[in-house]
Amino acid sequence: MRMKGRFRKRFWRYLSAEIAIEYKACLYAFCMTVFYCIYQLAGGVFYARILYLCEMYVSAYLMGYFQVYVLKNFDEAEKLGIREAVSILGCTAAYTAVSAVCGWFDGNLRVTGYFGGFLILCYLCVFIINKLKREIDTDKLNSMLVRFKQEECKWSEGEGKELWEQKKQ
């Protein structure tokens, strides 16, 4: 029974990490696709190479594993410290290197540089969005807490006293 419980716990932990990786892979693959599509459109090309798109998705998945298991989900961190900044630069450098090796931007170094800048911007946006999401959640939690306490108070002594005072008047 204990073994079963432990296995279940491990399985859920694994599943939750996989979901986080899936989410990150989709998010960053979409960002790269957007940049690639803009690059193609700017060059007057109205198609995208499936091979390049596949390379982007595979690299986003691999980077997702790296972000979750090694870099401790830095884009969901509480504050942007040195560790997070280094992680952002490291991941951006890795993506940029893959783009250069695979020739996504036809060996154009300037565009590859823009791609790196765009990815840094994406990471910062994701970080800010996650932070805002948590702040909104915090507000919601505290309003629920206040409401819960008010509900509880209705049955406490205080309310009885208030009612008694009202009755007397």
Binding site: S16, D137, L145, R147, F148, E151
Partner: protein, 151 residues
Amino acid sequence: MKLTLIPITQGEEEVIIRYREMNSQVHAVIDMIQGAERKIRAVWNEQVIFLRPEEVYYFENVDGVTFAYLKEKVARVGISLRDLAFSYEKRGFFRCSKSMVINIRKISYLKSEPGNRIRATMENGEQVMISRKYAKELRNILRGGEDEDER
């Protein structure tokens, strides 16, 4: 529900509930009246004391012994966390980790943390981290209050 309060100068205080059917509201009133007298037996400074659940910030299990943390003292309680969470669930107590049961009414601030965790700051300034598993349950409890409010 009609409420009549009659002040008395002598004799024992008494509550009489006249109800047509036993519904959740009547149950809540009964629980509140009965519960108010249900104190927790604890040991503090080698003395046996009785604690009102409302004054407890949280219960913690340390090496198999349960402690009740109050504003300025810590008392030993001879009840397991499981029983405490079960008995005082309706009075705002919630199992927030394997070794802790907190009083939601003594939480002053909640903060959403990365990984769907929640950091609870108690009225005495202590902070308790609630893991994703238990955070979900806390949200459900708090939402329960919201649902009742909407009704």
